[in-house]
Amino acid sequence: MSDLIAARSQMAMSLGFHIIFAVVGIGMPLLMVLAERRWQRTGDRIYLELAHRWAKGTAILFAVGAVSGTVLSFELGLLWPTFMEHAGPMIGLPFSLEGFAFFTEAIFLGLYLYAWERISPRAHLAAGWAVAVSGMLSALFVVIANAWMNAPVGFRWVDGRGVDIDPIAAVMTPAAPIQVIHMILTAYAATGLVVAGIHAAGLLRQPRNAFHRRALAVALLVGAPAAVLQPIVGDQAARFVARSQPVKLAALEAHFETQRGAPLHIGGWPDEAAGQTRWALRIPYGLSLLAFKDPHAEVKGLLDFPRADWPPVAVVHVAFQVMVALGSFMALVSAVALWLTWRRRDLTRHRWLLRALVLAAPMGFICTEAGWVVTEVGRQPWIIQGVMRTAEAVTPMPGLIVPFLVFTALYIGLGLVVAWLLHREIVRSPQAAEEDAA
């Protein structure tokens, strides 16, 4: 394994690990404050129990998210010092703001978790909102920095260095708005639906369990609208990529030959050597229509770009297909659940819907990982699109396979412990609370 591959693997592994906790760290606080708010409004103690349990889970997930985020902030330099040396002054500003958002989140989470008895109910709920809002702002700032790597602006690149640096223009990168919304919706959809799935499983066993019924309602309130909106936003994101990163679009669609009226590939395996995609279902004009809203629009194929500028096509294509497929399923299940709720039907009578929710539970996280593969691997071989190659940015430190293996082992261990602790909590859901169907 070359040092570059080891560094990329370590970064991918660290990001892939952290993003789970980051997503949950944005979604869970919203769940817990909504539950606490309902407890304060209705006096129904089940909501209080839910807020407590969700807060307990959030405590662990936030701690692991905080430390793995710290690792990432160092790894930017430990692995990519040349990148940070140039990009720091250009895009450090949102990272600084993210530092403060993280600070606020940590302070108010400390208050939320430990001050139930020490501050007024109103102040406690406000602390919860502060956690939820600052978690969302953290995502906003970090994703702005990532968007800049996809669409770098706010400087001129002269003789291997940035001049005329304008950090405000950098923050205004055109890639940011859509990428930020896409990410925040992901956080709510993934967290909401995983919690909904867990309680849907509980309801399949005990349809009258009031604890699971209330939990499902709050979880769907957070997850379902986001999941329904996500395909619309995702379509916009892909259309932006079509204009700003045509190679990435061609890779994620496994589209080799430039043509007008390009078909959409569903499934299939891109054969990079032969320059064609095999075994795909082809929808005529589909790609031109989706990418440019015109069935006859020309879509550039990979073969029109130098081979050295291609990302790993198969990885990106498969990740994209997985994201779209699972995201569509989540949107469909969520739409049905919302429609039934709107018609005031009892969701728990529709066992097929509960089963579908159980099936959808892990999908948000698979989509999150797949989406990051699409955006990060899809940008390769560039670390700053069109400006600096990843290979130019890597540290001169040799033997990078060692830290890669060490951190991988560390994170696998942590992941297993967190999974075990959460499993332990879920198994202990209250059994007694029963009620008649409304």
Binding site: K56, A59, I60, F62, A63, V64, A66, V67, G69, T70, V71, S73, F74, L76, G77, L78, P81, T82, M84, E85, H86, G88, P89, G92, L93, F95, S96, L97, E98, G99, F100, F102, F103, T104, A106, I107, F108, L109, G110, L111, L113, Y114, A115, R118, A130, I165, D166, P167, I168, T395, P396, M397, G399, P403, V406, F407, L410, L414, V417, L421
Partner: protein, 348 residues
């Protein structure tokens, strides 16, 4: 001293580092005392430590992130140099940070008493307690080693040989007797801070005496460690030796540090715990500032200065505004946090 945006940002980094040491450092020190908990009140010592750091350690930890972010935004070549040449100790420190934080939250999760599972929960809790405590010892050591390497001026850009000589480039600059002595000093100071703070957290007089004793012992050890590091600097690090002994400013700072240290010991002796906390914090802050002053205007001696390594002015100015805006949110929140958790059982 000519003060412009680069100096202001460098000052903000020093302030953040001071806050990290005084607040986050004490949380690591708490882990040290968890590891060394002993005597008839062993379990209660551990419970007190957990109660003291539980609500605040994550907020205290963020100061380190602020330092990192300010470095890579405003002094990017400094960040790159440190990240390349201190790759090994920084990676090890990160492992310590990850294990300390996760293990602490895992242990808190088990909490006291879990009905039928109490036995296994206690065992799991004890297991994570050990991980938390060991990581709390290792992390400050490595942090100190990194600081020692910067202070010693050994993190030079590689010469003509480039980065080929692995040991000379990536190990020798930080693995020095002086570096290790700074690591030990950092660990002792963190443990000292924690013991002093815990005298004010404890409600039970016996528990308070436990930590008073520990504070006095570590105060003595801090003297030994400080003079050990100084001796090694005088013997082997000429740059440091010159800066530490030369000039009236350096000597005034030493005098102030010594006065704070003696005040802390006297206050502990006479059980004036609030005064002890103030003096201990002043002592540790002054040691940190003494280092900063000793290497001013260098961020990484022998070549990277505050002015020379600074990012373009517009970046610095925007970051300074961001610091002001962030501070307006941060400081009231921080004060609120500390008031809620640190007010009622503060002793004398």
């Amino acid at each position: 001293m000519d003060v412009g945006p680069p100096e202001l940002v460098a000052g903000a980094i020093l302030v953040s580092l001071t806050a990290y040491v005084l607040l986050g450092g004490a949380d690591f020190g708490g882990g040290v005392w968890d590891l060394l908990a002993s005597g008839p009140r062993k379990a209660r010592q551990r419970a007190l430590i957990a109660e003291a750091i539980g609500p605040i350690w994550e907020a205290n930890h963020v100061w380190l992130i602020i330092v990192v972010v300010l470095l890579f935004t405003c002094f990017p070549s400094v960040f790159a140099r440190l990240a390349i040449m201190l790759h090994i100790p920084l990676s090890l420190m990160l492992i310590g940070i990850v294990l300390r934080g996760s293990a602490f939250s895992f242990r808190s999760h088990y909490g006291p008493g879990h009905g039928e599972e109490a036995g296994s929960a206690d065992r799991a809790s004890a297991h994570w307690g050990r991980v938390f405590a060991s990581a709390s010892v290792i992390t400050p050591l490595l942090l100190g080693i990194c600081v020692g390497a910067i202070a010693a001026g050994t993190l030079r850009p590689p010469g003509a040989s480039g980065f080929r000589d692995f040991v000379a480039t990536f190990v020798a600059p930080w693995l020095t007797p002086f570096g290790l002595s700074v690591g030990v000093l950092t660990l002792v100071l963190f443990a000292f801070l924690a013991a002093v703070y815990l005298t004010l957290e404890a409600r039970d007089p016996a528990l308070r005496e436990d930590f008073r004793r520990r504070a006095l012992i570590t105060a003595g050890l801090a003297f030994v460690a400080a003079f050990g590091a100084l001796g090694l600097a005088l013997a082997g690090v000429p740059r440091m030796a010159r800066a530490l002994t030369g000039g009236p400013r350096a000597l005034a700072l030493h005098a102030a540090t010594g006065a704070a240290a003696l005040t802390a010991i006297a206050a502990l002796w006479w059980r004036r715990f609030r005064l002890a906390r103030l003096a201990a914090a002043a002592q540790v802050a002054l040691i940190l500032w003494g280092w900063a002053l000793a290497q001013y205007p260098y961020l990484v001696p022998p070549d990277l200065t505050i002015r020379g390594a600074a990012a373009p002015r517009i970046t610095l100015v925007l970051v300074l505004w961001a610091l002001v805006a962030g501070g307006l949110v941060l400081f009231p929140s921080l004060v609120y946090l500390l008031r809620v958790f640190k007010r009622e059982h503060a002793g004398r």
